[in-house]
């Protein structure tokens, strides 16, 4: 496979500008999966798509849009970072199954089924009860995403919704940015964002990939997480799921402070029931910029992992999954 050594951070959000794209180049990133919407409806999502396209056009010497893995390869060959468009919610589909295909046509390649709370499709991880996918629309969206070639992301979904979607999906599914709850434990700010061993095993068995994150609210040891401890978690997860099911999805949210209220309560609430700490995330010094991405590879090498396994974790596994996921079902 020609894509086995491409690198990919499978979830970054926040503010994007030339400085950040330059940092991604310095970090040798061939591909970043970015978030275009959470609570945005269809019309608002189309606006975000067109804004992102102009942003990419304006910095075409540094970045390019990727609709396929071939596009990532071309980006890498021309020393640019390929941007994969994703959504962290299905709000953009509204109540219209047709919009899944329309958004795929417009470039969306990944969508998380729910963002923290209950929506038309299923439950988020912050809900006290998760009744799984809604029978008609939720299951229909999973099938439609399979059909058109949009990768299902379960990161912020609740346990039952995640498990049901992973089992129902006819194509591999992803957890782009969560950690194994069994390894991290409950002593972090958002243990609910991490995933059960049962779910992770299901994802891996389906051919999916799990993206691990140094995000302090869910990383092992929280704000005190070192690169060594992070890499220990990577190795633990590799032991659990095997070498082709583990990747990186840092959740790096630089410049996200102004949008924090939008992510947390959208327009559905005046006050959010669960109140995590606001303000800027305190990223560890060893990972506070896309520029630091190679630090993770160095940490994995220091643990004695083979180059093949490291290549898979640093991006090859995402490329394999993207290649299997982004085209319409034949």
């Amino acid at each position: 496979m020609t894509y086995s050594s491409l690198t990919c951070d499978c979830l970054e959000t926040g503010h994007w500008d030339r400085n950040r794209f330059e940092a991604a180049r310095k970090g040798g990133l061939d591909c970043i999966h970015v978030t275009l919407g959470v609570w945005e409806d269809f019309r608002e999502t189309v606006r975000e798509i067109t804004k992102w396209r102009r942003l990419i056009d304006d910095h075409a010497d540094l970045v390019t849009l990727a609709n396929t893995v071939e596009d990532v390869e071309k980006a890498s060959q021309t020393n640019r970072t390929a941007i994969v468009f994703g959504l962290q919610n299905t709000a953009a589909f509204e109540d219209d199954i047709e919009l899944v295909g329309v958004l795929h046509e417009l470039g969306i390649r990944v969508a998380q089924l729910t963002y923290n709370i209950q929506n038309l499709v299923g439950s988020g991880c912050w809900e006290p009860e998760d009744r799984g996918l809604s029978t008609t629309y939720g299951r229909g969206v999973v099938r439609e995403m399979n059909r058109v070639g949009m990768l299902i992301d379960l990161s912020h979904c609740g346990e039952a919704t995640s498990q049901e979607a992973a089992e129902l999906s006819e194509r591999p599914v992803a957890v782009t940015h969560s950690n194994p709850r069994e390894f991290v434990g409950e002593d972090v700010e958002l243990p609910i964002r991490n995933k059960s061993t049962h779910l992770l095993r299901t994802v891996a068995e389906k051919g999916g990939v799990v993206g691990l994150s140094p995000y302090p609210r869910m990383a092992p040891d929280g704000n005190a997480c070192t690169v060594e401890r992070f890499c220990e978690m990577v190795e633990w997860t590799l032991d659990l799921l095997g070498p082709i099911a583990v990747g990186i999805g840092t959740d790096l949210n630089l410049g996200n402070e102004n949008k924090m209220a939008w992510f947390r309560k959208g327009r559905f609430a005046r006050e959010f029931a669960i109140k995590p700490r606001g303000g800027a995330t305190k990223w560890p010094t060893w990972f506070s910029s896309p520029e630091h991405f190679p630090v993770i590879a160095d940490g994995l090498r220091a643990r004695g992992l083979s180059q093949d396994v490291i290549d898979g974790v640093m991006g090859g596994n995402w490329m394999r999954l993207f290649d299997e996921s982004f085209k319409p079902m034949s």
Copy 2:
């Protein structure tokens, strides 16, 4: 050119179902340009696009979507009618120039700049005053349609808006469904829908095509228009504009009665200032179904026109124009 003998009705509206598609096949129509929206905003237009796609899928033995002239050729070779998606207004672009390209990506290939009244782009033909294209957005939309490959239709536009757009456009423009006002005269219900000789000449000089219509409210002799009289108008227009600038756009609006109020006053008025007769259009017996399309060719043959010229009028000229219009500017 392989497309010179393809047939095309460059404007039909109203209700579509299997019976009508079968009638189009009986009429030997290789291509019909249909209307997906007038006052619909972007979201509503996307809904119409997805509804039309399902309609086409449901009758895939009779019809297929055309994004290019090659698609029309393929339709003809498989005995199907190619559907070209069009809008009779720029309401779908809202105030967002980016939506021109987005709607092109989703299949819209033709858009009329205004529908009867003033909009953000320019003036319609029913306005007492027409101040031309709006300086910033109107001219910008013309340039953007040129850039992405969306054919500009001037049929319901006012005289000044039409003239300015025809002159500004860097690509040929169309009048898909109007008649020459000089030939028809003022003694019809809607003389304002017909076009001045000056404008028609400008359209032809730019490489555009004018589609003539037996619609009784604007055809010569109104409801009494015979096929002979209609063909006399075709020949008169050919003499005026030359053999490659004339086509057919019947405006056949079967089953449109329920939507008449929507076309006439959208949601912008409770009562329309100009009140044309409501109710179903009384189509002439010689043209009341797509099945009757060959009657026009017969009428032109009876006038002694050459087969080459007849082929151009019956669709070849639209195919040439579509071929020059539907792809992004290089």
